[in-house]
């Protein structure tokens, strides 16, 4: 005989370490089983889309650092790709390669956090995440060399990147790339067979390939469900068409596979970086913007305003969390008429109820950890 208890509501968050920021999950429980999950968002809503309509295209680049603040490079790149589509600007070759290098370094840094915090959620309290943070710091050191910032980087520019990397960047990057595979071996030895992680994550939060695609899930979550879809391969941007790498794909679509896919992607990022550091050509890092879209301004102190022609563009890239897209509408003025961010963290939450209903409270925590949300990107 099953005993049914009175439905009971538990608020997970907004201040709770496992919600990865200020995100609240309202769980309705029947005993330990989840019967309903409701997401409450907006604690970090800064109305970026409205603010961006008041600023010029160049002034909007720093906003894109502050959406997904653990992957500022990819946020920058998706936005400038959308503006370049709108204006028809082609960045020079070296800028494309620098963009590829920065995005892959960013993917390693971001997945370090994702995997480390996921281990935290599973109960491996702080030790794995400290190891991961140690390696992430080294990537941030490289970013500091390239653009002076560690978190909100503001490195990409419309038509290229803000500046070329200093001479000491390439040797330092090579040194890091040489060290990383050893560290990845260490993490795999430490975590992949770890009984607590396996027991808590295998078979939990399963999404079939059909469910994942229908729910617009993208990134490592989609690939963990067995769908080999990666925009770097399917629709190459920057210099991804010139490098060789594999798409990491899972089988079961459960929480464990998402974690394995992220670890495997870090190895593929190292593989891409090895090639880019050898193949990167010399040359300018910023395109000459066409005069039709840049109007000279009579006051020499004022920067140039980019005025894209009337039209619209949807630029998308593969961010560490999935398909990051920017939909821009231009009316010919120096500010976008509409600025919309298709953020993977937000849309990957769509099947959260589907994944967690029927599980336990402990499952909800690892499921949320496996989605790898960044609340700055969820709420914008």
């Amino acid at each position: 005989m099953t005993v049914r208890a009175e439905p009971f509501v538990v608020n997970l968050g907004p201040q709770h370490p496992s919600t990865h920021g200020v995100f609240r999950l309202r769980l309705t429980l029947d005993g330990e089983r989840i019967i309903d999950a409701d997401m409450v968002m907006g604690y970090l809503h800064r109305s970026m889309e409205k603010l961006a309509e008041e600023r010029t295209y160049t002034q909007n680049i720093p906003f894109t650092d502050r959406t997904d603040y653990l992957a500022a490079m990819t946020g920058n790149l998706a936005y400038v790709i959308a503006v370049e589509q709108l204006c028809g600007i082609e960045p020079p070759e070296r800028a494309q390669w620098l963009r590829t290098i920065m995005c892959e370094l960013q993917r390693i840094a971001s997945h370090c956090m994702a995997v480390g915090i996921f281990a935290n959620d599973c109960g491996a309290w702080q030790t794995p995440v400290m190891h991961m943070l140690r390696d992430r710091e080294k990537v941030l050191d490289l970013f500091e060399m390239a653009c002076g910032a560690r978190l909100t980087l503001n490195y990409m520019r419309i038509g290229g990147v803000s500046r070329d990397v200093p001479p000491e960047f390439m040797p330092a990057a090579r040194k890091l790339i040489k060290e990383l595979p050893k560290k990845l071996n260490e993490y795999e030895d430490l975590l992949l067979e770890n009984e607590i992680i396996v027991e808590r994550s295998r078979g939990i939060g399963v999404l079939t390939p059909e469910q994942a695609m229908a729910n617009s899930v993208s990134g490592p979550m989609l690939r963990a469900s067995g769908v080999a879809w990666d925009i770097r391969k399917a629709d190459p941007y920057a210099a991804y068409d010139k490098v060789d790498f594999d798409i990491a794909v899972g089988v079961h679509g459960d929480v464990y596979d998402r974690f394995v896919v992220r670890l495997a992607e870090m190895r593929q990022s190292v593989k891409i970086l090895e090639q880019t550091l050898d193949l990167i050509p010399d040359g300018p890092v910023h395109a000459q913007l066409p005069t039709a879209t840049v109007q000279p301004i009579d006051q020499p102190v004022a920067p140039l305003a980019i005025r894209p022609p009337v039209g619209e563009a949807y630029g998308r890239i593969e961010s560490p969390r999935g398909e990051l897209g920017f939909y821009l509408v231009s009316d010919g003025s120096p500010a976008p008429f509409r600025f919309h961010i298709r953020s993977p963290s937000y849309i990957n939450l769509t099947p959260l109820k589907l994944m967690s209903v029927g599980g336990t409270v402990a499952d909800a925590i690892v499921i949320l950890g496996s989605v790898d949300i960044i609340v700055g990107e969820v709420d914008r």
């Binding site: 968002m41 907006g42 809503h45 109305s47 889309e49 409205k50 309509e53 008041e54 600023r55 010029t56 695609m213 229908a214 729910n215 617009s216 899930v217 769908v227 879809w229 391969k233 399917a234 629709d235 190459p236 068409d241 010139k242 060789d244 039709a292 109007q295 000279p296 301004i297 009579d298 006051q299 102190v301 004022a302 305003a305 005025r307 022609p309 009337v310 039209g311 619209e312 949807y314 998308r316 398909e323 897209g325 939909y327 509408v329 009316d331 010919g332 003025s333 120096p334 500010a335 008429f337 509409r338 919309h340 298709r342 937000y346 849309i347 939450l349 769509t350 099947p351 709420d379």
Partner: protein, 178 residues
């Protein structure tokens, strides 16, 4: 195909997709531009299930759903991706006027529209008829107004949003929209 065997996403223009939809539903297309085809709200769901299920289109993945305030009316923009055929297209729906904008919800076709439609409702005030759970998502219940609309005033003094001119720019028009 690129030299190393990689493919590039095929973009199906709004004109082509409008032609395909018209063959199935002759009265469904309102307008077609290279960026996107505009579908009538009455036949949106028919057109969308056709786009999802047609063997040559197979748009099973709703990439992005968003709304734009076009001053006289609102439009909802759908960016669709076919993962199996690696192609992309965009369709739009226009509302009639600014008062009480209503558009059918595509959640029965793409469950991934759920949160995105809630966001468009929350910030632009578009009612998606048939949505299972249409509530505010970022703002609190009882918030007055729809912030992403162009007539929503921001800042002290009620400045009208939208930058006409770059700060410090000459008042003489230099091309573009002066």
């Amino acid at each position: 195909m690129l030299s190393n065997g990689l493919s590039v996403t095929k973009i199906i223009t709004g004109l082509d997709i409008a032609h395909r939809i018209e063959q199935m539903f002759p009265a469904a297309v309102e307008d077609a531009l290279p960026e996107a085809a505009t579908v009538t709200p009455a036949q949106l769901l028919d057109a969308c299930s056709f786009l999802r299920d047609d063997p040559e289109l197979k748009f099973e993945f709703l990439s992005s759903l968003t709304a734009v305030d076009r001053l006289e009316y609102f439009e909802v923009v759908y960016h669709l991706t076919s993962i199996r055929l690696n192609q992309m297209t965009a369709i739009k729906v226009k509302t009639t006027g600014r008062e009480n904008p209503r558009v059918p919800s595509v959640t029965p076709i793409w469950p991934g529209a759920n949160l995105q439609e809630r966001e468009a409702y929350d910030l632009m005030g578009i009612v998606f008829v048939g949505h299972p759970d249409l509530r505010r998502v970022f703002l609190w219940d009882g918030f007055d107004g729809w912030p992403l609309r162009k007539d929503y005033l921001i800042g002290p003094g009620g400045r009208f949003p939208g930058l006409e001119r770059f700060p410090g720019e000459s008042p003489e028009p230099l091309g573009g929209r002066g």
